[in-house]
C-alpha cells in the first residue's frame, strides 16, 4: 500500500538552521565536546537517581514526567535469545537470513509515545519550566516550533505523537532522560522485534491481528477512513506491550541494512547516512498483511516532501502521519559516549 499521504502543510515548519556538521556521518565524526558535556551531566544525574532505586528483580512501573501530569508505563523485558527475521519460501528478502540474536535485559515503554508527552518536549512552556528552572534540561535543544499542528487534525490527547524525524525522537529521549534521571533511547531493531514477538513467532498469542492492531482496514474514525487511535485501546501482547503492531510505525535506532547470517549479541547498526533508517510495526495506513513483527520499512527522504524550505527541517517528517516511536531503558547504564551516540545520529540533515 502506498505510504504517500495528502498533507496540510501550508507554509510548513520552520526549518532549523542546524550546523553543517550534521552532514558528516556520525561514524567519522569526533564527539562534539559541548554536546558530550551535556550528556555527562545527564549521566551523572542518572547515576544519582539510580541510587534511589529499589533492589530486587526489575518490575513494571509508571513514571510521571516531572512538573506535569503526563505519565507513561515501563515494562521489564528479560534478556534472552531469539530467531530474528524470517525464513521459508515466502519470506521477504530484507527479513532474511533468519539469524540468532541474544539480548541483554531492558525496559520498554508499554505504549507509543503520546502527544501528551511529546508536546512537553516540543514547546518549552508546557511543563511549568518557568516555575521549575532546570539548567540541565533547559540547555537541551528542542524542536523548532512548527507553523502548523503536527497531528494534522487527527487528535492529540492520548493519541500517539507522529511526524517526527529520527533525530527528533533521539532528542526527545535525551530530554526525557534529563528530565526523569533514567536513561532512554530508541530500541535497536533487534530489541524491537524481540519485544514485538513477546515469545511467540508472530506476536499474536491468540486471536487475530485485528485484536492487537489498528490497521488500514479497521481504523476508520469520524471524517477519516483510516487513522490512528488512542494508545492502548487494543489487546497488549504477551509481555504487556500495546500497539507494537499497527497504530503508528515506530522508529528504531538502526540504519536499515541487510541482516548478517551469523549469530549476534546486542546488535545495532550505526548511522552513516540520513536515509534509510529502519522503521517497524506497520500502521493505521497499512494493509494488515504488512503489519507484522518482522516487516521492515526503510525511511525515505520523500517523507519530508511537503517541506518547502531549504534546509528541510531536521525535526519534522511532514508526510509521515503514520510514524511515531517508543523508547527503551537498558538495564545497564552505558558509557557517556554510547549515550551520546544514541542521542546524536550525526546524520540529521537531509541530502539535497
Amino acid at each position: 500500500m502506498a505510504l504517500r499521504l495528502w498533507t496540510f502543510f501550508a507554509v510548513a515548519v520552520i526549518a532549523a538552521a542546524e550546523s553543517a556538521s550534521f552532514l558528516t556521518a556520525q561514524a567519522d565524526k569526533p564527539l562534539d565536546p559541548k554536546e558530550l558535556a551535556a550528556v555527562e551531566r545527564i549521566r551523572a544525574r542518572i547515576e544519582e537517581h539510580s541510587k534511589k532505586a529499589a533492589a530486587g528483580p526489575p518490575a513494571a512501573y509508571k513514571v510521571t514526567i516531572p512538573n506535569t501530569t503526563v505519565t507513561y508505563a515501563m515494562v521489564p523485558i528479560r534478556g534472552g535469545e531469539f530467531k530474528m527475521g524470517s525464513a521459508g519460501p515466502n519470506a521477504k528478502a530484507d527479513e532474511q537470513p533468519e539469524h540468532s540474536v541474544k539480548l541483554d535485559p531492558f525496559w520498554m515503554q508499554a505504549h507509543e509515545v503520546t502527544w501528551d508527552a511529546y508536546l512537553m518536549f516540543m514547546f518549552a512552556d508546557q511543563a511549568n519550566e518557568r516555575a521549575n528552572p532546570d539548567a540541565i534540561v533547559d540547555a537541551l535543544s528542542r524542536p523548532t516550533a512548527p507553523y502548523v499542528e503536527m497531528s494534522f487534525g487527527r487528535g492529540l490527547k492520548g493519541f500517539p505523537a507522529i511526524s517526527m524525524t529520527q533525530h527528533a525522537a533521539n532528542k526527545f529521549a535525551e530530554w526525557l532522560s534529563a528530565k526523569t534521571g533514567e536513561y532512554y533511547r530508541l530500541p535497536t531493531e533487534a530489541e524491537w522485534e524481540y519485544s514485538c514477538r513477546a515469545g511467540s513467532p508472530t506476536g499474536i498469542a491468540s486471536g487475530s491481528v485485528d485484536d492487537y492492531a489498528w490497521h488500514a482496514k479497521n481504523s476508520a474514525a469520524q471524517f477519516m477512513s483510516a487513522t490512528y487511535h488512542n494508545v492502548g485501546t487494543k489487546k497488549p501482547n504477551a509481555w504487556g506491550l500495546y500497539d507494537m503492531l499497527g497504530n503508528v510505525m515506530e522508529w528504531t535506532l538502526d540504519q536499515y541494512a541487510p541482516y548478517p547470517a551469523a549469530a549476534q549479541a546486542n546488535p545495532s547498526v550505526k548511522s552513516t547516512t540520513s536515509y534509510p533508517h529502519a522503521v517497524r510495526g506497520g500502521s493505521w495506513n497499512n494493509d494488515p498483511s504488512t503489519v507484522t513483527c518482522t516487516a521492515r520499512v526503510p525511511s525515505d527522504a520523500s517523507w519530508k516532501r511537503q517541506d518547502p524550505q531549504l534546509p528541510k527541517s531536521v525535526w519534522y517528517m511532514t508526510d509521515a502521519q503514520w510514524l511515531g516511536f517508543r523508547l527503551v531503558r537498558p538495564a545497564t547504564l552505558p558509557s557517556a559516549e554510547d549515550m551520546y551516540r544514541a542521542w546524536n545520529n550525526g546524520v540529521a540533515l537531509d541530502p539535497y
Binding site: A145, V148, E149, G153, P308
Partner: protein, 435 residues
C-alpha cells in the same frame, strides 16, 4: 526587454567576489527572456530574501529546469546571504546551477538583483512585496511572488496595478498561493464548483496553529540597533511587515475561501480579535475570527489562533444544501447531510511548491505567459479586510477595504531610522477607524 545593464561599479555592500562566470554568460548574449526555440539557454534567476523559504524557492526554481541558473541574491543580512549561498552551492543535485556572482545586502539590494536577472523570486517579509513586485515588472522581469502580496490596502492596489502591467507586457507572474497548484485541492474545489454539495450555505475555515516567530525580549536587542532593523529582524511581530497572523498565515485559507467563491469578493465583514499572550512590544494579534457575508446570504467564518497548548488544526468545512466538503482532517471528502461519503480524494498528490515553479518556467520557456493568478491581490485583501474589521471593531465593505488609505509601511524604509509602531489595536477606540 533585456535589461541586464551591469551596475556601474561594484556596490559597497557587494561582497562576493566577481568571477569570470558572469562575463561569460553575458558575452554569449543570451536574451533575458527566452523564446521557444532556445529552450537550452540559461535563464538567470535572482532571489530577493534568502531565508528558509527563499532558499527553498531557489531550490524549486533550479529543480524546474537544469538550464536555470541562480546568479544574484539579496537580503538585509550578510550572514543570511552567505549561509544561503553556501547551502545552495552545496547541493548535490542543483549546486552546479548556483552561479552567484552578485550578492547584495541592504534594503535597496532588490534593485540590483532585479537588474541582473531574467526571473525574480520575491521572498522577503510581505511588507516589502508591493515595492519589489512593481520594480520587477517595471524592469520587464518574470516573477515568482510569495504570499501574501502586501500588508495594507495601498500595497494591494499597487500589486493589482503591477499585475495588470505584467499582463500587458506578457510577463509571467506566479503567486505563492500554493494550494492552487495542488492537484488534490484542485479536485476538491472542482467538486464544489460542479455542484457536488449543492447550493453553498456557509464555510467554516480554521488556521489554529502554534506561534510562528515570537518576539525576543527587548533586553536581547543589541545596543544601537535601530527600530527599523530590530523590527525587520523580528518581522513577524509587526503588522506593517507581516500583516498580522491573519494575513501572513491564515491567508492560505482566505485564498481557499476566494477560490471556492470563484474569486468573487464578499459584501462585508465583521470580526473579533485580540491577544492572549503579551506582545512584548510587537503589535500583532494572536487570534481572529472573521465573519464574511457574501452574495446570496453565504456566510464564511475564518478563525485563526497562534498559541501553544491549544486545540489546533487547519480545517475547512464547506457546507452546501447537499453535503459538506471537509479539508484538513484526513483526505478531502464530501459527506451528504446523512453522513454518507459521497466523494473522497484518492490519488497521488504532487509537490505543490515544485509545481508552482514548473508552471512558471514552462510558461517562460515556451514563450507563453502565465499571469492570471489575480488571487494574489484579492485573497490577500480578503485577509486584510478581516484584520481591518477586527482592529476597528466596525463592519466594513469590500470597497472600503479595497480603497482604505491606511498605509502601514513607511516610505521610504530607512534601515537606521527610529520607527515607533502603534500599540495593539483596541477595537472601537480607533479614531478615525483604522480602515
Amino acid at each position: 526587454m533585456n535589461d541586464d545593464k551591469k551596475p556601474e561599479k561594484i556596490e559597497r555592500r557587494e561582497f562576493l567576489k566577481k568571477t569570470g562566470t558572469v562575463a561569460g554568460v553575458m558575452a554569449a548574449g543570451f536574451p533575458s527572456i527566452i523564446s521557444g526555440q532556445s529552450v537550452t539557454n540559461s535563464l538567470k534567476v535572482g532571489l530577493v530574501g534568502c531565508g528558509g523559504r527563499g532558499s527553498g524557492a531557489a531550490r524549486q526554481a533550479l529543480t524546474a529546469n537544469k538550464n536555470n541558473e541562480l546568479t544574484a541574491v539579496a537580503d538585509v543580512d550578510e550572514a543570511i546571504v552567505q549561509q544561503a549561498t553556501d547551502r545552495l552551492k552545496g547541493s548535490q543535485t542543483f549546486g552546479s546551477q548556483v552561479k552567484i556572482d552578485r550578492a547584495y545586502v541592504g534594503l535597496d539590494a532588490y534593485e540590483k538583483v532585479i537588474a541582473a536577472s531574467d526571473v525574480v523570486l520575491l521572498a522577503t517579509p510581505p511588507g516589502f512585496r508591493p515595492q519589489h513586485l512593481t520594480a520587477a515588472v517595471n524592469a520587464n522581469k518574470h516573477v515568482f511572488c510569495e504570499k501574501p502580496c502586501a500588508t495594507d490596502s495601498p500595497g494591494v492596489r499597487e500589486v493589482i496595478a503591477a499585475q495588470k502591467l505584467a499582463q500587458s507586457k506578457n510577463l509571467s507572474l506566479v503567486a505563492g498561493f500554493c494550494w492552487r497548484y495542488n492537484n488534490m485541492i484542485q479536485e476538491a474545489v472542482r467538486q464544489v464548483h460542479n455542484g457536488a454539495i449543492g447550493r453553498l450555505v456557509s464555510h467554516y475555515s480554521t488556521y489554529y496553529t502554534n506561534p510562528v516567530k515570537p518576539l525576543p525580549p527587548e533586553s536581547t536587542r543589541p545596543a544601537g540597533m535601530s527600530d527599523v532593523e530590530w523590527q525587520i529582524r523580528n518581522w513577524y511581530n509587526y503588522t506593517w511587515l507581516c500583516g498580522d497572523s491573519l494575513v501572513e498565515q491564515a491567508v492560505h485559507n482566505a485564498d481557499k475561501i476566494m477560490w471556492i467563491m470563484r474569486d468573487q469578493p464578499p459584501l462585508s465583514a465583521v470580526a473579533v480579535g485580540g491577544r492572549a499572550v503579551p506582545a512584548n512590544g510587537g503589535n500583532i494579534y494572536d487570534h481572529f475570527e472573521v465573519n464574511y457575508l457574501f452574495p446570496n446570504g453565504y456566510r464564511v467564518f475564518l478563525a485563526n489562533r497562534q498559541a501553544t497548548g491549544c486545540f489546533n488544526g487547519t480545517l475547512d468545512f464547506v457546507m452546501g444544501t447537499e453535503g459538506t466538503l471537509m479539508l484538513g482532517s484526513g483526505p478531502p471528502r464530501i459527506e451528504t447531510p446523512d453522513g454518507k461519503v459521497k466523494w473522497q480524494w484518492q490519488g497521488e498528490e504532487y509537490d505543490m511548491y515544485q509545481k508552482e515553479h514548473d508552471v512558471l518556467f514552462e510558461a517562460i520557456r515556451s514563450g507563453k505567459s502565465k499571469n492570471d493568478d489575480l488571487n494574489l491581490a484579492t485573497s490577500t485583501l480578503l485577509a486584510i479586510m478581516g484584520r481591518h474589521a477586527a482592529y476597528s471593531g466596525q463592519q466594513l465593505t469590500w470597497e472600503q477595504a479595497l480603497n482604505s488609505q491606511v498605509s502601514l509601511v513607511p516610505k521610504p524604509v530607512d534601515w537606521n531610522a527610529k520607527h515607533e509602531v502603534p500599540g495593539l489595536a483596541i477595537p472601537g477606540r480607533q479614531q478615525p477607524p483604522v480602515f
